[in-house]
C-alpha cells in the first residue's frame, strides 16, 4: 500500500465509528430523490461527498489528530494527497451505489434511463464533486474544520448551485460536454492539491491549533 492509500485508509478508519450516521444520510438522500432518478445520482453524490469528504477533518479537530499525522511515518505530501484519495474513493463508492439505485428506481417507475443518461449523470456528478472538494479541501487543510465548518460546505454548494442555475444546466443539455466535465474535474482537483500543499506549509508555520482546555 502506498503512503497515499494508507492515509486514505486512515481517513476511512477515522470516520468508521460514525458510519451508521453516514448510511442514514445516504438513505435519506435516496428517499428524497427517489422520485427523480436522473437527478438522484448527481444530487446524492454531491451532498454525500460534500459532507463526508470533510468529515475526517471534523473528527481530527476534536481528537487532536494533527499530532498523529505529524508523528506517524507519513510524508506530509502523502498525507495531503490522501485526503484527495479518500474523497475520490468516496465518489467512486457513492456514484456506483447511487447509479445502481437510480437504474433500479427508474425501471420501477418505468422512466427512461439509458446508458447515455448514465454516462451523463456520472460526468455531471464528477464535475460537481470535483469542484466541491477542490474548494473545500484547501480551506480545511489550511484552517481546520472548526474554523471552516459551515462556510466550508456552504461555499462550494452556493458556487455549484449558482453555476447550475446560471447555465440552466439540466441533464439533457449537458450531453455535448461530457469529456470536458471529466477533464475539468480532474484539473480542478489537481490544482486544488497544489494549492493545498502551499496552504499546509503556512499552517505548519503558525502556532498550531487552539491551546489546551483544562
Amino acid at each position: 500500500m502506498t503512503a497515499v492509500a494508507r492515509m486514505a485508509m486512515l481517513n476511512l478508519r477515522t470516520v468508521a465509528p460514525y458510519r451508521y450516521q453516514g448510511f442514514l444520510v445516504f438513505a435519506l438522500g435516496v428517499l428524497l430523490f427517489a422520485g427523480k432518478p436522473t437527478v438522484l445520482v448527481p444530487a446524492l453524490v454531491f451532498f454525500f461527498t460534500s459532507q463526508f469528504a470533510s468529515y475526517p477533518f471534523n473528527v481530527a479537530d476534536k481528537a487532536g489528530l494533527d499530532t498523529l499525522y505529524a508523528v506517524l511515518p507519513l510524508p506530509r505530501r502523502s498525507m495531503l494527497y490522501g485526503h484527495y484519495a479518500w474523497a475520490i474513493a468516496l465518489f467512486v463508492a457513492t456514484a456506483s451505489v447511487s447509479t445502481v439505485l437510480a437504474v433500479l428506481l427508474a425501471r420501477a417507475q418505468t422512466v427512461p434511463f439509458s446508458g447515455r443518461t448514465v454516462m451523463t449523470v456520472l460526468a455531471l456528478s464528477w464535475a460537481l464533486f470535483a469542484v466541491n472538494v477542490a474548494i473545500q479541501l484547501p480551506l480545511l487543510i489550511r484552517f481546520g474544520y472548526t474554523r471552516v465548518s459551515v462556510l466550508g460546505t456552504a461555499l462550494p454548494l452556493a458556487v455549484v448551485l449558482g453555476t447550475v442555475y446560471k447555465l440552466h444546466l439540466t441533464v439533457p443539455s449537458t450531453q455535448v460536454w461530457l469529456p470536458v466535465l471529466w477533464i475539468a474535474g480532474a484539473v480542478a482537483l489537481m490544482a486544488s492539491a497544489a494549492i493545498a500543499t502551499t496552504a499546509d506549509r503556512r499552517r505548519m508555520r503558525s502556532s498550531g491549533p487552539a491551546p489546551k482546555i483544562h
Partner: protein, 328 residues
C-alpha cells in the same frame, strides 16, 4: 549472560545507521513564535541510553522546543540532530520515535483493537503480540474505547503504541500533569524498563520536578524561551545554591545575581550561582538546592528579568503542550 544479550535487540541499531551516539542535539536553535515569545539560542544534547528531563514553568518554551526537535515546527536559526540525522530527517526516522502526551491523540471512538489496526500499516516493525501484552500489563481492555480511558490510562496507551512499533526514543511532553502519584510512579518504572536497553533514550518534559528527582540522568532548565542550565542532574544541581536569610540579609550584592528572590517579613530566600555564593555575607545560610528549589526560583515571575511580560496586550502565547482535542 548470553541470554541478556539477546534481549537487547541489536537489530534496532542496525537500521537506519547512526552516525553519532547522541540521541539528539540542539545547537543554537531559534524559532519565533510571536512578537513576544521566541526560542533563543537553545542548545542541549542527550547521549544515547539516558533520560533527559526538560524542566520549566508553563510558557517556558518546552513544548515549542519539542515540536522543533520533532520537525513539526520549523526553526529560524541553528541546527537539530535527531537520532543521527539532521532535522527534518527522513520520514522513516519517525519509525523510531514515540511521542507521548497527557492524552491520546487518537479518535475517541476507536476501540483499542482498532487503534492497532489503524496504526499498524504505517510501521515496519509493529509487534502485535507486544501491543496486546502491554495493554494487559497496563490493565487496558482491548475492547475499551479511547474515550473510556482515564488520563493515566491514555498515557499508558500511547506508551504501549510507542513500544509496539519499537521506538528507541520516547518523547514525553508533560505526560504527568493531572496524574495521581501512583500513576506517576508507574511511569517512572516504565521508563526504567525502557532504558534497560542502552540504545533507548527518553526526553521527558515536565513542570513537576519530583518526576525527575530520582530517575533523571540529564536535565535542561528552560525559562522564557532560553536554556538556563543543562548538563547531568548533578552538574545542574551543583551549579546553584539556595541562600536563606533574614528579610534584610539578601540585599543586592555586587556581582551576585539573586535569582527569583522571595522576600517576606520574616525571611528571604533566593537562588544564586555556586560561583557567586561566596560573595554573599556570612549572615546567610547556603545550601545545595533541590531540583524543586531551582525550578521555583528560576521560573519565578520577576519583573526585573522579564521586561516584556508587562508590555502590551494581545500577545500570542508560546505553544501549549501539544495540540489537543476537546475531549481531553
Amino acid at each position: 549472560m548470553t541470554g541478556l544479550q539477546l534481549s537487547s535487540a541489536p537489530e534496532i541499531r542496525k537500521d537506519p545507521p547512526v552516525s553519532t551516539d547522541l540521541a539528539f542535539a540542539l545547537r543554537g536553535v531559534g524559532s519565533a513564535v510571536s512578537d513576544n515569545f521566541a526560542l533563543r539560542d537553545v542548545s542541549f544534547e542527550l547521549p544515547t541510553g539516558y533520560v533527559m528531563g526538560l524542566i520549566g514553568a508553563n510558557g517556558a518554551g518546552k513544548t515549542t522546543t519539542i515540536r522543533c526537535l520533532l520537525g513539526i515546527r520549523p526553526i529560524d536559526t541553528g541546527e537539530i540532530e535527531l537520532l543521527g540525522h539532521l532535522v527534518p530527517g527522513p520520514v522513516a526516522l519517525r519509525q523510531e520515535i514515540g511521542v507521548v502526551l497527557d492524552h491520546a491523540f487518537l479518535v475517541s471512538d476507536w476501540r483499542l483493537t482498532e487503534v492497532e489496526r489503524t496504526l499498524r500499516p504505517f510501521y515496519d516493525r509493529w509487534d502485535g503480540a507486544r501491543y496486546r501484552q502491554l495493554l494487559d500489563e497496563f490493565g487496558l481492555d482491548l475492547r475499551a474505547k479511547v474515550k473510556d480511558l482515564s488520563r493515566g490510562m491514555s498515557v499508558k496507551l500511547m506508551i504501549a503504541v510507542a513500544l509496539s512499533h519499537r521506538a528507541r526514543l520516547l518523547v514525553f511532553d508533560e505526560p504527568t500533569s493531572g496524574l495521581d502519584p501512583v500513576t506517576r510512579d508507574e511511569l517512572a518504572g516504565i521508563i526504567g524498563d525502557f532504558l534497560l536497553d542502552e540504545g533507548h533514550s527518553v526526553l521527558f518534559s515536565t513542570h513537576i520536578t519530583s518526576d525527575l528527582d530520582r530517575i533523571g540522568d540529564y536535565l535542561t532548565l528552560m525559562h522564557n524561551g532560553r536554556v538556563v542550565q543543562t548538563g547531568t542532574k548533578d552538574e545542574v544541581l551543583d551549579a546553584y545554591r539556595v541562600v536563606r536569610g533574614g528579610p534584610d540579609d539578601l540585599r543586592e550584592c555586587v556581582g551576585v545575581q539573586l535569582i527569583g528572590i522571595r522576600r517576606t517579613s520574616t525571611a528571604a530566600q533566593a537562588l544564586v550561582r555556586t560561583s557567586e555564593a561566596d560573595l554573599l555575607g556570612g549572615n546567610v545560610l547556603v545550601e545545595i538546592p533541590t531540583l524543586e528549589d531551582i525550578a521555583i526560583h528560576v521560573g519565578a515571575r520577576d519583573p526585573q528579568r522579564n521586561p516584556d511580560r508587562d508590555a502590551g496586550a494581545g500577545r500570542r502565547q508560546p505553544d501549549s503542550p501539544m495540540p489537543t482535542g476537546r475531549n481531553a
